[in-house]
């Protein structure tokens, strides 16, 4: 397939395959991601949804045996082309990981690190402004504003994950990838993260991988169902959950396997 030239979509994947050595983990997936929408990837364990997510900011590059074929574009620009700077790509396409992974530094330093290495702040006050804005947007400001110099690792699990989201949005990304962001959290912390995703939707294109179908139904506008490396079905979340076109999708969301 050819790439659409003036991209109507924020990100597009065309016929993407990922190999781990001989293991064909993702098989010829094509998908479009749009601004102001939350796209959920669901599917049973090992279906390749996390692997596929990591192709959007080239995090698979860090795995020596991983190989990606096909084309992924960001604003029509091929992110796997030699001209693409990976460092800038990852600033534009931020990522939140499954397990909260704050740096063992202060809360302030955690959020300030990204803007600092990308030179986004012109002064100390500017940087403080960015940190405050990011923490507010991540819904963490009220809880930590008096202890910004405390270690980020001293926060609770849910707070740590929101700190990681604040850290990701501090570099002002266009797309945020979330890899099962609530799977290590308790229900209350999960609810807060979901609420946060709702609030963030207007500013960023968000892609979220989740095990939890209710979560996908709650937070996303579009859902993609993966099985054994294939994209089985992709559509509006409401349609996919109420009237799945594919038999396999129906079996999965009704709990026949997974």
């Amino acid at each position: 397939m050819t790439a659409p030239s003036p991209a109507p979509h924020k990100m597009s994947a065309r016929d993407v395959s990922v190999f781990y050595g001989d293991n064909h983990a993702v098989r010829g997936v094509s998908i479009d991601i749009d601004m102001d929408k939350v796209t959920a990837f669901i599917g049973p364990s090992g279906c390749g949804k996390s692997t596929f997510l990591r192709t959007f900011n080239r995090m698979n590059d860090t795995i020596a045996s991983a190989r990606v074929t096909g084309e992924i574009t960001l604003d029509g620009e091929d992110i796997y082309s030699p001209n693409m700077d990976v460092v800038q790509l990852r600033a534009r396409v931020g990522m939140v990981f499954q397990k909260p992974n704050p740096f063992p530094k202060s809360i302030f330093e955690n959020v300030a690190y990204g803007p600092r290495i990308h030179g986004l702040a012109s002064s100390k006050t500017d940087l403080e402004g960015i940190v405050e804005r990011s923490l507010k947007r991540a819904g963490l400001w009220e809880e930590v504003k008096d202890r910004l110099s405390d270690s980020g690792t001293a926060l609770s699990g849910g707070q740590q994950q929101r700190l990681c989201i604040a850290r990701a949005i501090a570099v002002d990304p266009e797309v945020i990838l979330m890899d099962e962001p609530a799977s290590a959290l308790d229900p209350i912390a999960t609810a807060k993260i979901e609420e946060l995703i709702h609030e963030l939707r207007g500013r960023y294109a968000i892609v979220i991988v989740t095990h939890n179908m209710q979560q996908a139904a709650r937070v996303s506008q579009r859902t993609a169902f993966f099985h054994l490396g294939h994209l089985v079905e992709y559509g509006e979340t409401d349609n996919l959950f109420t009237a799945p076109r594919e038999e396999r999708t129906k079996d999965y969301i009704t709990g026949r396997y997974g």
Binding site: V87, G94, M95, F97, F103, P104, Y113, G114, S151, A170
Partner: protein, 434 residues
């Protein structure tokens, strides 16, 4: 315990109080106790060995830090020394006093004060003490005074109950006169090697060790840590890197004397051939060559320890940094290295401690020379603490026994200081990075 039961219902409840069960419990507790006693025994045994070592060293070594002094009544006016007073403040004073026969005057004073054997009670360097006293206080030339001078090695031995009959008589006589004093031996801390055990000092060897360690650290630490970073973070995992890993592990186990031969052959041999033609390149017996040789020796240790420390940094931290667009070098220097630093420092200190105590390779590159002045720089001839200990332990004169122990105590003190620094640095990094 149960018969092959047809269903769960037929299975009898386990009797936890039965005799067999009680026996099992007793045996389990006994095994537990035995293991704890073995462990405690191992710790006590090693502590006892360490305590024994320290006690012997301190018992023998404390005398090395003291000096026996004889209060020598001396009247230089009687001796008739012809020295211009004005000369005493000039650099020519030493020569003038020697030329005026100060050495003989001191010996005569000893004979006058302590009898015919009196001269032998004083160390050969005793007149130097008088010379310094005269330079400090020229009025000694006109007055009768008492100057404290170091005693001869034989006298010192007799004082410890280990001398010959003549000396023991002398000790008894001077003791009656109240002319014997023991003082802290400051000279031991700022003098260097000598043929006379009374006059030796540790400073030359200590400074040699410090200079050598500085070179070793400056080469081994950066090269070792950078190699570890490259191998862990950048190098592709393939047959070549496997080969390098095996080679490094083998290098860490190579006997140190081999590295000494390498230093001799490469740094002094091959490069020195050029030296003969184009002028001296690397001198023998120098801390520079010793330091480079020891750096080669401990580099594998640092590489292995650093790689393990870097491996121990959780991958999630790398992901986090990469995920917000840190470049690989930023990931390493901002996140991985600071977190790995405590482990890297521990490995480095283990390596440095090994280098500090190393003797064999330094013997081969000539750092066993008899050197009476402390090295002024990295290319001056020098010796190091363990080599100095080796040299002194080889001396015939019994006066060197306590000096050897004293030198061992100094070496242990330097080791302790280094370990203390390592622990301090480790704690500092750990609190900063939790």
């Amino acid at each position: 315990m149960t018969k092959p039961a047809a269903s769960q219902a037929e299975r009898r409840p386990t009797d936890w109080k039965s005799a067999g069960m009680q026996k099992r419990i007793r045996r389990r507790y006994a095994a537990e106790r035995r293991f704890r006693m073995l462990g405690a025994g191992a710790v006590i045994l090693s502590a006892a060995f360490l305590g024994f070592l320290l006690l012997t060293m301190v018992a023998q070594g404390w005398r090395g830090f003291t000096v026996t002094e004889i209060a020598l009544p001396i009247d230089l006016k009687v001796a008739g020394l012809k020295v211009e007073r004005a000369q005493l403040a000039t650099p020519a004073a030493d020569l003038a006093l020697a030329g005026a026969g100060l050495e003989d005057a001191v010996e005569n004073a000893a004979i006058r004060a302590f009898g015919a054997e009196g001269g032998t009670y004083l160390a050969p360097s005793a007149w130097l003490a008088v010379r310094e006293a005269v330079k400090r206080d020229p009025s000694l030339l006109e007055n009768r005074a008492i100057v404290h001078v170091p005693a001869a090695t034989g006298f010192d031995q007799a004082l410890a109950g280990d001398g010959d009959a003549a000396m023991e008589a002398g000790v008894a006589r001077l003791r009656r006169q109240g002319a014997i004093a023991r003082d802290f031996n400051w000279a031991f801390l700022h003098e260097s090697d000598s043929t006379d055990p009374v006059a030796v000092g540790i400073w030359g060897a200590l400074k040699g060790s410090l200079l050598t360690m500085a070179i070793t650290f400056l080469i081994a630490f950066p090269v070792g840590v950078l190699s570890a970073i490259y191998l862990e973070e950048y190098a592709p995992k393939n047959r070549w890197t496997d080969l390098i890993e095996v080679s490094i592990n083998n290098l860490a186990a190579v006997p140190s004397i081999i590295f000494g031969l390498l230093g001799l052959a490469v740094f002094l041999g091959t490069w020195q051939i050029g030296g003969h033609v184009y002028g001296p390149m690397l001198p023998r017996s120098a801390p520079l060559v010793g330091g480079v040789t020891l750096a080669l020796m401990i580099m594998p240790v640092i590489v292995i320890a650093s790689r393990n420390a870097i491996k121990g940094v959780p991958p999630s931290i790398r992901d986090a940094a990469l995920g917000i667009g840190a470049s690989p070098i930023q990931v390493v220097f901002h996140h991985v290295l600071p977190l790995a630093m405590p482990g890297i420092l521990t490995g480095t200190i283990i390596g440095m401690a090994r280098a500090l105590g190393e003797t064999a390779p330094l013997l081969l590159i000539g750092m066993r020379a008899f050197i009476v002045t402390a090295p002024g720089g990295f290319t001056d001839p020098a010796t190091v603490l363990p080599v100095q200990i080796f040299l002194w332990s080889d001396e015939v004169s019994r006066g060197f026994v306590e000096k050897t122990s004293a030198a061992i105590l100094v070496l242990l003190a330097v080791l302790l200081a280094m370990n203390g620094l390592a622990i301090y640095l480790r704690n500092k990094f750990e609190t900063r990075w939790q």
